[in-house]
């Protein structure tokens, strides 16, 4: 270890002060930049030797080789006979080999996100956003993308169970009848527990149940269901209302702990709207501004022009100061207040779900005072069928269960045994209920404690309906018959009402026909994926002068660390824990996969003795120490993780992990730690008083992908990997990014041409791209939120394998597209930058000449083709790739055997096997399909007719793909933007993927 490693955090600022350029960095260890780290960095797969831990001796080697030689003869056997099974009666409009798209919606937290589902011969294979749906606008997030794996997941529950034994649905109905007969006279013992419901049909059915069984009750519990936002609106306006934000109309946005671009039912729409005011182009004169006041660095905070890390409890005081009813705790608060005042009617203050209702009420009051309500914030009736204080609703249920007043509990969806507040002890309470039935997609914790478990259908398997964030209704239609004998909530409720054989289709259809639909409108709704004009009308929320009394002190009195509990960004409240795509998706900001950790800031890390000096950079981002956390009398041991920019004196944990049942991925491979034990009904989002102590446990392995396939840290700042400027600087010098590029080119040792000139001297044969297409991509780093939608979309489109936690630790993750995270400045509150890195599709690609078998070669369109069947796995190409975008199948990662996963795959993309290199292809299957259609019709391909999976998913339109030869295409125009720059231009690789530099709009009144 070098001496340099003994650098301490206190030296950071000095070190940053030393360098000439604004220095960008990716991780704390990179900032330390020890020699050991440099060695580690330069090794491409530093841990690959670790795979052969036990070693192979000479005799074993000979045996293995002998066996391989003997088997070699068998490989050459003929391909097995293959069958073709045509239809008996082919459906109309179905062309074998051509996908069909159907509109539907995915329900998350009760609210709909519109989807278009690609179906190949009756098999749904890919989800896209529905451009007509107000919450999606054609974009999709990782939950939507990964739901296709959720559909086929072989570990989904497949049979009705009675006390764990296999049973049938009709036996369940038989057992239900005596219960219902008893409830007909007095239904007070009959309880239905659901998650948040916006479905008009389900709501109608529940009302029928309540009417039919007098005294019966309906309870709702959605663990991450925006409880505080709902109650905050009631606190502000005296009744439940649904605020709809119009970020496209806002010039100044203040987030009070809100991750509005990363979470919530409308985050896709809000991200698109917000970023519409940030597309800095040549001659731009305005740009919106975002202040993020938060504890845990979120995606929203990462895009902010100013981010202020504060403890969660301090936000209320800041909100009061913004409203002007309390003194400003810092000068920047007054500056924000002034900025809001200067943009009356053009500002938004939005509070986060983790903030108490009072903060939400304050945010509404600020918007009211600034005249934003009615302009940038509008209100509608609640989209929920029956908005309610769900915590109280669940409390009532638990109280009644404990008092023996509940004779039958029907749980429709959800997993309350796992995710109800810890102090409710829901599981013990259910033991007092003589009849418990649970409808759920997995045989999970709640199912284990129910008498009856009924497998639930996936949203792609059943008819239903749901409302979007603005109330727009989507009729959800199934793409496939239930794969695993699932039943939907409509069927169970139908059985309660008495319609035993009422199908979900009949239920939904007859509801809407009773509301005036006819065959023509019904078909149009199904086709469009939305019911036009069904958005709830805008109403006045009713002003309230009352300012809520202070609920929390600014945290000064409380001792210990303040803990904030948030839903996990990739597996949400735990419902997606069995989805391996989501488990392996690097969490935004932390870039950790397969785990949850206790997230703290650098200062607290030092306080508890977890100093960077202890950490070996060679293994950093691979393992971490365990800490004991004591909170509300509950003690838990879990790994700790330092995130630059996290508020001091506070910690954040994501709940959703720690599943006991519900599939091997959820309960074994990606188990993590159960944070619900910290979730109490009086502090759902956490609170003060936690004690964190470092333990001497052996290090805990962590699969964090940030330092994988890294570009040399020296290049990041000094060679302009990340380019950024303030909006004022941009206006002064729009070409700031190119200047760096020109300088870089001038300094490059690879050429002696005049700076900025294209380098003519090269070893590559000259290609003429003018006759064909020249595909290219531009990624706008200003509007990228690092949300991972593109990564998941790529995984679904290109059949990318999951490798598992151990392999991720060995840096063998297969994602073709990664999102690099960079920081700049002080580790206590750095600026964050996101950079999606697909294959650059270099015109003079370094990977091509080094392949000994010609498996990677140049196409006439300028793509770097990767030919799997030629690849012999030398990995020279990956070694020679300066961008580190190639991924090698070290093992047989693709699951060839599980029958359930076979129909999931995109039939237009090869499933890769062991020993083969793979990488981003610019979705060449889509390119070829579009070219073929255009050629057949003898027409050019219009810009925007197709795009890559990542660009299609992107909520903020940060990724734009198209033909550079078409001068009117969006991508060609973006390439002309002054902020357009390439990565490592001095290498003369001429990448087809380029970036638009990040432009931020800081308030000149606020320093740093």
């Amino acid at each position: 270890m070098s001496d340099e490693k003994s650098l301490t955090y206190s030296d950071f600022r000095k070190r940053i002060g030393d360098v000439k350029h604004p220095e960008y960095w990716r991780s704390l260890d990179e900032l330390m930049r020890s020699e050991v780290f440099d060695d580690f960095m330069h090794d491409e797969f530093p841990r690959q030797a670790a795979a052969l831990t036990s070693g192979v001796d000479r005799r074993d080697f000979m045996k293995l080789m002998g066996a391989s030689m003997a088997m070699a003869g068998l490989v050459a056997c003929n391909q097995p006979d293959q069958k073709i099974v045509p239809y008996v009666n082919q459906p109309e409009n179905l062309i074998p080999g051509k996908p069909i798209f159907f509109a539907s919606a995915m329900v998350a937290g009760g609210l709909a996100k519109g989807v278009l589902v690609e179906s190949h011969m009756g098999r749904p294979t890919k989800i896209e956003g529905n451009p007509d749906h107000p919450s999606s606008l054609g974009a999709s997030d990782s939950f939507m993308q990964a739901s296709i794996l959720g559909l086929y997941d072989p570990e989904r529950s497949q049979v009705v169970r009675r006390l764990g034994e296999i049973s049938t649905y009709s036996e369940f109905l038989g057992a239900l009848q005596p219960v219902l007969n008893a409830a007909r006279a007095n239904g007070s013992g009959l309880r239905v527990l659901t998650q948040t419901i916006t479905s008009p049909t389900l709501g109608n059915q529940i009302q029928q149940v309540l009417a039919q069984y007098p005294g019966s009750k309906w309870h709702q519990w959605e663990p991450a269901g925006g409880h505080n936002a709902r109650e905050g609106a009631r606190l502000a306006f005296g009744g439940y209302v649904n605020p709809v934000y119009h970020f496209d109309q806002a010039s100044v946005v203040v987030s009070l702990g809100s991750d509005f671009m990363g979470e919530g039912p409308a985050h896709l729409r809000y991200a698109r709207d917000f970023m519409s005011g940030r597309r800095v182009r040549r001659g731009s004169t305005t740009m919106n501004r975002l202040y993020a006041i938060e504890s845990m660095p979120t995606q929203t905070g990462g895009c902010a022009d100013h981010r202020f890390p504060v403890k969660p409890s301090e936000i209320e005081g800041i909100a009061r100061a913004l409203l002007g009813v309390a003194p400003a705790p810092a000068s920047w608060v007054s500056a924000i207040a002034r900025d809001l005042q200067n943009n009356r009617g053009r500002g938004i203050v939005i509070a986060g779900d983790e903030q108490p209702p009072a903060v939400h009420a304050l945010a509404h009051a600020i918007n009211q005072a600034l005249g934003n309500n009615g302009a940038t914030v509008t209100f509608t009736d609640p989209v929920e069928v029956a908005p309610a204080n769900q915590l109280e609703s669940l409390r009532e249920l638990v109280t009644d269960m404990n008092a023996g007043r509940v004779s039958a509990l029907i749980v429709l969806g959800g997993n309350p045994v796992f995710d109800a507040p810890a102090d409710f002890d829901f599981r013990a309470a259910t033991d007092k209920v003589p009849f418990r039935a649970h409808l759920s997609p997995y045989y999970d914790e709640t199912s284990y404690h129910a008498h009856w478990h009924i497998p639930e259908t996936h949203y792609l398997e059943t008819w239903s309906d749901a409302r979007a964030h603005d109330g727009t209704v989507t009729i959800m239609q199934p793409l496939i018959a239930p794969l695993y004998n699932g039943r939907s909530a409509h069927e169970i409720l139908g059985a309660l009402i008495g319609g035993l054989d009422l199908s979900p289709y009949d239920t939904v259809r007859s509801y809407w026909f009773s509301k005036g639909a006819n065959e023509i409108s019904w078909r149009k709704w199904l086709n469009d994926g939305v019911i036009a004009g069904s958005a709830l009308p805008v109403r006045t929320a009713g002003a309230s002068g009352a300012i809520p009394p202070a609920t929390r002190q600014s945290g000064n009195g409380a001792t210990g660390v303040e803990i904030e509990l948030r839903p996990d960004p990739t597996i949400h409240d735990g419902r997606f824990a069995n989805n391996a795509w989501l488990q392996e998706l690097p969490k935004p900001v932390t870039k950790i996969t397969w785990d949850n950790v206790m997230i703290i800031g650098p200062a607290l890390a030092k306080q508890i003795g977890f100093d960077a000096d202890d950490r070996d950079p060679l293994v950093n981002e691979k393992q971490t120490r365990m800490v004991d956390v004591e909170y509300h009398g509950v003690k838990m041991r879990m790994p700790v993780w330092v995130v630059p920019g996290h508020a001091e004196g506070a910690a954040t944990v994501f709940f959703g992990y720690g599943r006991e049942h519900g599939g091997a991925v959820a309960s074994e491979k990606g188990k993590g730690f159960n944070i619900y034990r910290f979730r109490f009904s009086d502090a759902l989002s956490g609170g003060a008083g936690a004690r964190i102590t470092l333990t001497n446990d052996p290090p805990y392995p962590i699969a964090c992908v940030q330092e994988h396939q890294s570009i040399d840290p020296k290049d990041v700042g000094e060679r302009g990997i990340v380019q950024s400027a303030s909006f004022t600087e941009f206006q002064k010098d729009p070409e700031f990014a190119r200047e760096r590029e020109r300088k870089e080119a001038g300094e490059s040792e690879l050429q002696g041409e005049a700076a900025g000139e294209p380098y003519d001297q090269q070893m590559y044969p000259p290609y003429d791209y003018s006759k064909q297409h020249a595909w290219g991509m531009v990624i706008d780093t200003t509007v990228c939120t690092g949300c991972n939608g593109c990564v998941s979309a790529c995984q679904a489109e290109n059949n990318i394998s999951v490798v598992g936690k151990e392999e991720v630790v060995r840096e063998r993750e297969m994602h073709w597209l990664r999102i690099d995270r960079y920081y700049r400045g002080n580790p206590e509150n750095p600026e964050t930058f996101h950079m999606p890195v697909p294959c650059m599709q270099c015109e003079t690609a370094p990977c091509e000449p080094v392949c000994p078998v010609g498996a990677t070669s140049h196409s006439i369109d300028g793509l770097n083709d990767m030919t799997y069947n030629r690849c012999v796995g030398t990995r020279y190409c990956s070694n020679n790739c300066p961008y580190k975008v190639r991924h090698f199948n070290f093992f047989h990662y693709a699951d060839y055997d599980t029958p359930a996963l076979k129909p999931m795959r995109n039939p237009d993309v090869t499933v890769r096997t062991r020993g083969v290199m793979e990488k981003c292809t610019y979705c060449v299957q889509r390119i070829n399909a579009a070219k073929i259609e255009a050629e057949k019709a003898d027409r050019p391909i219009p810009d925007g007719e197709f795009t890559t999976a990542c660009a299609q998913a992107c909520p903020t339109d940060a990724i734009v793909f198209g033909d550079l030869n078409d001068k009117s295409s969006r991508v060609a125009k973006l390439k002309q933007e002054p902020t357009n720059y390439a990565l490592l231009p001095g290498l003369n690789t001429r990448p087809r993927t380029t970036y638009l530099a990040t432009v931020r709009n800081p308030n000149p009144e606020i320093r740093g």
């Binding site: 099974v85 062309i95 074998p96 006439i860 069947n869 237009d908 060449v924």
Partner: protein, 215 residues
């Protein structure tokens, strides 16, 4: 020093050295021959089918157009295998009691599909699109041979990559007028003139880069 080897060792060593080259060459030649042989390519091997369907009878004899059954050949990558209902269009009225057609009738009656053996199989890493080849004037016969003369269907061509490339490199040798694409008996009177003319007229590009087929 005594001579260790007999003089004949010179000859033996020469023969061995030359022989090694020839033997290695011979082995390679044999392997090359085997992988191109019908044993590997399945060329010319008739497949047993659930119903011994004769293209010779239906196409050659009755003159049914290819597209009557292979409906998606002009629109999709997959030409399509006819559903049972297509067979029953005629066989509901003719040969209604033929023993050979029993599987067809029972399929139609029970709704269970007929299961055919695939004759033309490309590896999963090859993506072939029928429609673009049809649209560019490549006749069915170029790849499938004289199907109208096949009793049981077999693969007429080797379907190796080398064979694909023979046309991709020189499409003018195979292109035909679009209205003759489905005419299996068509032979150009003067391909040397017609070929280059049609290549120009149909804007046929000679694509040989890998991602044309492999992705």
């Amino acid at each position: 020093m005594a001579q260790i080897f007999h003089r004949s060792a010179n000859t033996i060593s020469r023969v061995t050295i030359f022989g090694a080259i020839f033997i290695a060459g011979f082995i390679l030649w044999v392997i090359g021959g085997i992988v191109r042989s019908p044993y590997f390519t399945n060329q010319g091997i008739e497949r047993e089918q659930i119903v011994p369907f004769s293209h010779q009878h239906h196409v050659g004899g009755l003159g049914i157009d290819c597209r009557y059954c292979h409906t998606s050949v002009e629109t999709s990558n997959f030409a399509g295998i006819p559903p049972t209902s297509t067979c029953m269009n005629c066989h509901a009225q003719i040969w209604t009691s033929a023993q050979l057609l029993e599987p067809v009738r029972s399929s139609y009656a029970t709704g269970r599909p007929l299961i055919w053996s695939r004759v033309h199989r490309l590896p999963d890493y090859v993506h072939f699109n029928h429609s673009i080849h049809i649209s560019k004037g490549i006749g069915c016969v170029s790849c499938h041979g004289r199907v109208d003369k096949m009793n049981l269907t077999y693969q007429a061509m080797p379907m190796t990559m080398q064979w694909c490339l023979s046309c991709h490199r020189a499409p003018e040798k195979f292109v035909r007028p679009r209205n003759e694409v489905f005419n299996l008996a068509y032979e150009s009177p003067n391909q040397a003139v017609d070929g280059p003319r049609l290549v120009k007229e149909y804007k046929i590009q000679s694509f040989t880069h890998c991602s044309t087929c492999h992705y």
